[in-house]
């Protein structure tokens, strides 16, 4: 799987990646700023994401909202913020390519003159509603908040979730925007990937024309991947919610993105709960019928990852029962390792996913987003082969050793969610009740 691309770095530090893909007369413009909620400080959580919203409210030379000029030419666009990065993308018909560059470059270079208190207040309200819709008013919605603050020590940039705390969002000030913009939103902290029905030379020429004049700012110092908690005892938590079925979350800290062991955890996720032939599905859902569903997966991040197993209890069954069976299955896996056939199946499926997800030039996870991800996290946009090799070159022994090293029972965070009515007696044993907001 060879992806042909070209990368150049402009004088102002902007990384530019171009990939020609002619199947459809469209082009994707995908821009990453290497800033996320990990760059926030306690007391101002949620700011990186709130800032992302402001990027759609107009800039100095087009102070009328970001969507109209792109939708009227048939484009689609979006953006998102994670712990590690903020991305923005447009997919437009080829004739509108220059317009997309104009829009993206104007907000990179000239956002602040167009920003007003009114826009800021409006988007703060929108973000508070986003938080209500996706966290507060959603079953199990507050779990990530409780889990992250249990997995990471106070003050660690992963100990809060990207959406942030309500109070911090409410207390955010327009004045903070300027500093954030100057620190993080400039060419030397950004990478742009363009994929589609375009000519590479012409793309470099246009990108230089639109972005070349924007002054670089200071390159933010890389945050260090700190060894986080030295766990001595497991952490056991409970929370109540307006739900029908109790749900169990088991989480461990694991190697960060692309570090040794990260890929093994993707495979472990498949072996444990990837589909109806997986160990935990067979055991919990199919044979014992004590769970309605089970999933497992590695959440890979720049500074540190976590591996989680999640299972929902069938009526009449407890979270302790689920936990006991899951831990038995885990210990069995750590004792004897996975079978060759389990690993082969998982690798076949992961390799196929590499092919499937590169079908779109744009959007979240499409070709241009992937080129930028590799570039921002490894410095090499063409990391595809190396990424894939991490899976094809591992084996049952390494997977067994990785599981044994990281999934120690005493290192786990166990969180049980139980119904707020009739939930008495269902809570996870020996757990402390928490009340995330």
């Amino acid at each position: 799987m060879q992806i042909q691309y070209e990368k150049r770095i402009l004088d102002n530090g902007l990384n530019v990646i171009v990939c020609e893909e002619r199947s459809c007369p469209i082009v994707s413009v995908n821009l990453w700023y290497h800033v996320g909620s990990k760059n926030e400080k306690p007391g101002s959580t949620g700011f990186a994401h709130l800032f992302e919203h402001l990027m759609f409210e107009g800039s100095e030379h087009h102070d009328k909202g970001y969507f109209y000029p792109l939708q009227e030419v048939g484009g689609t666009l979006n953006g998102s913020t994670s712990t590690d990065r903020t991305n923005y993308w447009e997919v437009v018909p080829v004739a509108a390519f220059e317009r997309a560059l104009w829009m993206e470059s104007d907000r990179m270079g000239f956002l602040l003159p167009a920003l007003t208190q009114k826009k800021f207040d409006n988007q703060r309200d929108v973000v508070l509603n986003e938080r209500r819709q996706n966290y507060e008013n959603r079953p199990y919605g507050l779990v990530p908040i409780a889990l992250m603050s249990a997995l990471y020590p106070e003050g660690h940039p992963y100990s809060w979730v990207t959406i942030g705390e309500v109070e911090d969002i409410q207390n955010a000030h327009l004045d903070d925007v300027k500093k954030f913009f100057e620190n993080f939103y400039h060419p030397a902290n950004a990478s742009i990937a363009i994929a589609g029905d375009v000519r590479t030379d012409e793309v470099f020429r246009q990108v230089n024309r639109y972005f070349g004049e924007i002054a670089p700012g200071p390159v933010p110092p890389a945050l260090v991947s700190t060894t986080v908690r030295e766990p001595t005892n497991e952490i056991r938590l409970s929370l109540t919610d307006d739900i029908e079925s109790p749900r169990l979350y088991l989480s461990w800290l694991t190697p960060s993105l692309f570090e040794c062991g990260d890929a093994e955890f993707d495979i472990l996720g498949d072996i444990l709960a990837g589909g109806k032939s997986s160990r935990l599905y067979r055991s919990l859902v199919h044979e014992r019928e004590i769970a309605l569903d089970v999933s497992a997966g590695q959440g890979s991040r720049e500074l540190s990852s976590s591996f989680s197993i999640v299972a929902t209890a069938s009526p009449g069954h407890t979270l302790d029962e689920l936990e006991a069976v899951i831990m038995d299955e885990l210990l069995a896996l750590m004792a004897t390792g996975p079978t060759e056939s389990e690993v082969e199946c998982s690798i076949a499926s992961i390799e196929a996913d590499f092919v499937y997800r590169l079908q779109s030039v744009g959007g979240f996870g499409g070709l241009s987003d992937q080129l930028n991800a590799y570039n921002v996290y490894t410095g090499n946009p063409g990391y595809f082969e190396k990424d894939r090799d991490r899976y094809t070159q591992t084996d049952t022994t390494q997977i067994k050793e990785t599981a044994t090293r990281y999934l120690k029972p005493q290192h786990r965070v166990a969180l049980g969610v139980v119904p707020e009515t009739n939930g008495a007696g269902l809570a996870l044993s020996e757990s402390v009740m928490v009340h995330p907001k």
């Binding site: 009227e72 929108v126 209500r132 008013n137 079953p139 109806k276 079908q359």
Partner: protein, 454 residues
């Protein structure tokens, strides 16, 4: 190098022509239709099996039968256990996905092109040779029952279910695919088997294959696998004609959710079928009203007032009259204002504030210039084929899309707005905090709200 001119946006010229997918169509001797499209962008193929029976053919006392049957397909075949089937799927990187809509069931399988033959065989095994063991039926049913119970705690699911129920009553569109607790409990093994026998039969099926394939080869591969099931004794079945749903009266239904920080809202009434001659004009109208980020509704409720993360409207294009609906979650304290503004947007666009030329230009341009990007991936192309097959559309529906949309006039839009938006028939569903909003809902000109349970 000239620097960028920031005094004006770059003008946008015309786009190059693009080619639409071409489907090669054959019929097997047993009646199964096979449509293939060659699209060699990535070494993969996606398969879709369409059968023209979905939740709308659920028996009245067995809501959920179509979806339960579909869910059971991969629980083991006559030859292999579920575990063996799923291992075989993983080995070919196979993704199996089942969707049950009101009008149809679609079973999809995606695989690498080098595994196409095995993929076709597995799809056949899953769809045509399920074992339907009682123990699996009971387990899968129990999981689905609990999912229905959980949906009562999920505001969006409560609102969707209630909206359809009140809009359609006993009409086949009045329930969700997952069905009801009562319906699921009424289903036994023989119901599943006969549903499968009635609808998963060769003469009902359309098999669609899109991707890195040769249409001639694939047909040669399909024939030996799919022709083995021969339709015997039965006459061919046809989908029962949908009854006409009854028009609603303006009314409001309320579901209490203690201390909810947002209210989940649905507003709407009956729409028109996909076959309506007003399809294109309504697509344009909906873009202006609530079908895109810069629609009136979203700009008002989100970008002006900050009541919500996002608001939208849609016409659900079905074989019969699908719903026209507005969906939004709003902060609790702005519930009444949001309903008032939503109704106002639906009413005003019919006359008082008819779409401007600028709005219409934007809507037509957004729909037509974005059109090529609907055919970028094998999934999109397969989806397009499913739409043609399900709605029995002319092959030229895609080549006609752009000219048809461009020919929609301001008068057309005004006419369809007046005819197909009916503010005096709006049905409203509110799921929210009783103490914070209920007392004020009566002032909204919907009559007294009717409180119902989730």
């Amino acid at each position: 190098m000239t620097s960028a001119d920031r005094t004006q946006l770059p003008s946008v010229g015309s786009n190059p022509p693009f080619s639409l997918p071409h489907f090669v169509k054959v019929s097997l001797s047993n009646g199964t239709k096979v449509w293939t499209a060659e699209y060699r962008r990535a070494p993969m193929v996606t398969l879709r099996l369409l059968l023209p029976a979905g939740a709308a053919v659920d028996p009245l006392d067995k809501f959920g039968l179509a979806a339960l049957t579909a869910d059971l397909l991969d629980e083991g075949s006559t030859d292999r256990s579920s575990e063996e089937l799923h291992k075989a799927l993983m080995r070919i990187g196979g993704h199996l996905k089942t969707e049950v809509w009101s009008d149809a069931t679609v079973i999809g399988l995606t695989t690498l092109s080098r595994h196409l033959q095995e993929g076709l065989r597995l799809l056949y095994e899953v769809v045509m040779q399920p074992r339907f063991h009682l123990i699996d039926i009971n387990r899968v049913r129990a999981v689905r029952l609990q999912r229905i119970r959980q949906m009562k705690h999920t505001p969006a699911a409560v609102a969707d279910r209630l909206f359809l129920k009140e809009l359609y009553g006993s009409h086949p569109y009045g329930h969700l695919g997952i069905g009801t607790e009562e319906g699921l409990q009424n289903i036994d093994e023989s119901d599943v088997r006969s549903f499968h026998k009635d609808w998963y039969r060769p003469s009902c099926l359309t098999l669609i294959a899109v991707g890195d394939l040769n249409p001639v080869d694939i047909i040669d591969e399909v024939i030996p696998i799919w022709s083995t099931t021969i339709e015997s004794e039965r006459d061919s079945v046809s989908v029962p004609k949908l009854p006409m749903p009854t028009e609603t009266k303006k009314s409001m239904f309320f579901v209490s959710r203690d201390d909810a920080v947002q209210s989940e809202l649905r507003l709407g009434h009956l729409g028109v079928p996909r076959s309506s001659p007003d399809y294109y004009a309504l697509r344009v109208l909906n873009m202006v009203l609530g079908g895109q980020f810069v629609s009136r509704l979203n700009l008002n409720l989100r970008e002006d007032k900050g009541y919500t993360y996002g608001a939208s409207t849609s016409f659900d294009w079905r074989l019969g009259r699908g719903p026209f609906s507005l969906q939004v979650s709003v902060q609790t304290e702005s519930t009444c204002e949001a309903i008032f503004e939503s109704v106002k947007e639906i009413s005003d666009i019919r006359g008082e504030r008819a779409p401007s030329f600028r709005e219409l230009d934007l809507a037509r341009a957004a729909l037509t210039k974005s059109f090529p990007r609907n055919f970028e991936t094998v999934f999109q192309i397969a989806h397009a084929a499913v739409q043609i097959a399900l709605h029995d559309l002319n092959e030229d529906v895609f080549s006609q899309f752009v000219p048809r949309v461009l020919s929609v006039s301001a008068e057309d839009v005004s006419r369809v707005a007046t005819e197909h938006l009916q503010p005096d028939r709006l049905l409203a569903v509110v799921v929210g905090s009783r103490s914070a909003v209920f007392n004020r809902l009566g002032d909204l000109d919907f009559g007294d709200p009717v409180e119902v349970s989730a």
